[in-house]
Amino acid sequence: MEKLSADVLVIGGGATGAGVAWDAALRGLDVVLVERGDLATGTSGRFHGLLHSGGRYAVKDPSAAHECARENGVVRHVAADCVEDTGGLFVATPFDDPAYADRFAAGCRKTGVPCEEIEPARALREEPRLNPGISRAFRVPDGSIEVWKLVWALARGAQDRGARVLPYHEVVAVHRGGDQVHGARVRNARTGQELDVEAAVTVSASGAWAGQIAAMAGIEGVHVKPGRGIMIAMSHRLVNTVINRCQLPTDGDIIVPIETVCVIGTTDVGTDDPDDHTIIQAEVDAMLEDGERLVPGFKQARALRVWTGVRPLFEDRKENGATDTRDVTRAHALLDHRERDGVTGFFTITGGKLTTYRLMAEETVDAVCLQLGDARPCTTSAEPLAGSEDGEYHRVGDRLGRREQRLLDDQLICECELIPRKRIEETIRWRGTTDLDDLRRLLRLGMGPCQGGFCIYRVAGILHGLDGIDTPDANAGLIDYVRERWKGVWPVLYGDQLRQARLDEWIYQGVLDVEHLQ
């Protein structure tokens, strides 16, 4: 069996795991990162894209608010290219408790969340589709963050410093000898081949799956209760600012403009299985109604797709556990299993927010270094990621701007997301992937209004023409793509989006007849 050895094995390729890999690699540690699917396909790839100002927790969870407020500034600096500086508003709608607004303002002051009250009329001038009945409005530095760009920038940065990043490698066993964890066995999901990774320290950054990984290491009581939430992407930006209802966080109270769409979220339903992606129609219908409260006419816009993500809500169920659950349920939890369970070489980092991924990574690698007896300082708050060196934020018009400059140089393969052919071919090369879904995440391919109606055939054809895939794989890729897309489309099919879906059905089932490929 093939073997790898490293100082640190990171299990989990979400923002936290990629953040840990980047942090550890920057400190000169030798890192292997494994992820059972593609990077950022768990919780990180299934959220609304909010870079928190901290405002949402200003009243409910002051320590989380404070952390978010601090990390917001850091992430804006080190990952500027992944962040759109949309700004955010908290608005008191006629459906909200009017007394909350003052508590909110006081909470922001206490927790260090920058917050400025503005006239409702001014908020309405800036966001004319907002409910005209708003009575208070507060400006905060919310933003939106392109998560796949972030996670790949972290991973590629780590790779440049020697880390080995292995997507599609699932942990099948955690190696434990006595009171020591010394790595894991992983299986390549595509080839079935297994591989042993030996590491001085293993970090489980597996979020909602942390309990499963801990159990593999023979550690009890790491209980991560997955909280399932749905999000719906609308076909364009109904708002250009993150809009929050000024009330205690609840269902359907936030709209995040991200790239060419805006996303409304979310719900919170306890589930036992982090891989539970059930979409409940009643939740979808309620979410669309919630949209109406913030933006009247919300339901007239096209709903593109709905998806679910699971929050990792950590609860320590170890008897006499060293960790006080009341502190960690809402923020993140770092478990040093030497302290907690007498098992050295193993850490669990879970909970938290995408906004605080860097802080979570810093604390984790600090603890790792301490256990290795080799204190090295963290530099991630000063070191910009590749592409963010100039500190310029991503702007939603950037793709169009680039396209206008090179209008006649290259074919446009995905019109919705303005993706030219050369960019697709380059991405296929550097990523070494032939998977349409990998390309979707990296390029936003097929994520626009037509949901892949035209571009997916084109890209399958391009991949095949580059000898990237043989015919059976191209067929399977196409069919899997249209099937998977449908899973997020059918619960929100109404109005013009149903019309669009019918056109896609005519193309894929009628004109191309992909169902009857042999």
Binding site: Q281, L288, K299, Q300, L408, D409, D410, Q411, L412, I413, R421, F454, Y457, R458, A460, G461, I462, H464, G465, D470, T471, P472, A474, N475, L478, V482, R483, R485, W486, K487, W490, P491, L493, Y494, G495, L498, R499, R502, L503, E505, W506, I507, Q509, G510, V511, L512, D513, V514, E515, H516, L517, Q518
Partner: protein
């Protein structure tokens, strides 16, 4: 200001169903006006006439399969009009194409046997009646295929097409021809216009001929001309000395536009009128008769009075039927009642893309003469009818032609009866 015009019949919708109904009405002596918001499904469809392709297994002989099919699907449009009503509509369609403005361009085939033609991914799709320019692609032939791609056309990928033709048991390979159209990308429409030009074809053949092997037939994306497709196709066959066939691909569809052009010409030749850009606003009624259609055209409203209305506005794909965000569906022009809607609380769609979708068969409720149930003089044709899943059955153009023809016949019979009474 509202002006007012009088016709015997107004047809709403300019897809195959609407045009077929209008031509039949005009040929039957009625004064007909077709109103349409824009061009319809012709420009999106592959241009083949698919009558019955899957039930759900592949259908080789539609005429033989239809009686059993309508028995099993009593709500299907074919069941309403009877399978015997299909052939005459196909015959008339073929005649209209032959007499059309594209000299020599014709369709081939019929209900006896489906052609089995490769799609742009190389799947083998059954079609009853097809343009002569596609017929040589039939998968029953074992003649090797050379699929020709052009980089400039991002909507056709020769290697994938050839790969799947090979998997269907036919020797096939792909080549790419570099052609200069003065820009990096073109769609099917732009290329089809180029192929109307003889010097362009000569240059194309100059490059392609070197790449071909003896004994191969040549597959090209369906871009072989718009004005004179027969001329373009024949010229390529002659110059290359071998069979050439077109493979339909993503919209816009050149073969579909040829259908549109031919049917509009037939309508005009029969004395019918077409008003494009006419958005229907509302209708005038007397009791259960619709006596006029008010439409907005280029800055003013016109009431089109008529004794008969044919509704050929299509289903959800064309906007003839809409599903609101409150999950209520409606027929958009007359508010006619619908059939096949899932009941409240029942699933509208299901998670399996290729599985049964409850909403798929929604359409306007009609009687066996295709008359909308709650009206005296409104007939319905095409994708607005309930009971079919045309993109899965491979029945779209068959339903459009047959029901368009049938609805017009029904009107003419009643008009005749009224005249003799």
């Amino acid at each position: 200001m509202t002006s007012s015009l009088h016709y015997d019949a107004v047809v709403v919708g300019v897809g195959v169903a609407g045009l077929t109904a209008a031509i039949r009405l005009a040929e039957g002596g009625a004064r007909v006006c077709v109103l349409a918001k824009g061009v319809g499904s012709t420009h999106l469809a592959p241009g083949t006439v698919d009558v019955l392709g899957y039930r759900p297994e592949r259908v080789e002989h539609p005429a033989a399969a239809l009686p059993e099919f309508v028995g099993a699907h009593p709500d299907h449009p074919y069941a309403l009009i009877g399978p015997d009503a299909i052939a005459p509509a196909l015959d008339r369609f073929a005649a209209h194409i032959e007499r059309g403005p594209q000299p020599g361009y014709r369709y081939t085939g019929g209900l006896d046997r489906n052609h089995l033609l490769p799609t742009a991914v190389g799947a083998i799709r059954p079609s009853a009646l097809v343009p002569e320019t596609m017929a040589a692609g039939d998968a029953r032939s074992s003649v090797p295929v050379c699929v020709v791609g052009m980089r400039v056309l991002r909507d056709f990928h020769a290697s994938l097409c050839a790969g799947n033709i090979r998997r269907a048991g036919i020797p096939a390979r792909a080549v790419e021809v570099e052609i200069d159209v003065g820009r990096v990308e073109a769609n099917s429409l732009g290329l089809a216009r180029r192929f109307d030009d003889e010097s362009f074809r000569a240059a194309f053949v100059g490059r392609l001929a070197l790449l071909l092997r003896p004994g191969e037939r040549v597959a090209l994306p369906a871009v072989l001309g718009l004005r004179d497709p027969h001329g373009a196709w024949s010229d390529l066959q002659r110059r290359l000395g071998r069979a050439v066939f077109e493979v339909p691909t993503l919209p816009p569809s050149a073969p579909g536009m040829r259908v549109y052009n031919a049917l509009v010409a037939a309508l005009r030749a029969a004395g019918g009128r077409l008003v494009l850009g006419a958005e229907v606003l509302d209708v005038e009624r007397e009791g259960d008769r619709v006596t006029g259609v008010r439409a907005h055209t280029s800055g003013h409203d016109t009431i089109y009075h008529a004794g008969w209305i044919v509704l050929a506005t299509g289903g959800f794909a064309s906007g003839g039927i809409e599903l609101g965000s409150d999950w209520a569906a409606s027929e958009t022009i007359l508010g006619l009642s619908l059939q096949g809607m899932p009941r409240p609380g029942e699933a509208r769609f299901t998670a399996d893309y290729f599985g049964h979708q409850p909403m798929a068969g929604v359409g306007v409720a009609v009687d066996s003469s295709l008359r909308a149930r709650e009206t005296e003089n409104v007939y319905v044709a095409g994708a607005a009818l309930p009971g079919a899943v045309p993109w899965r059955e491979g029945s779209g153009q068959g339903i459009a032609l047959a029901t368009g023809h049938f609805a017009a016949q029904a009107v003419l019979e009643r008009e005749g009866a009224a005249a003799t009474a």
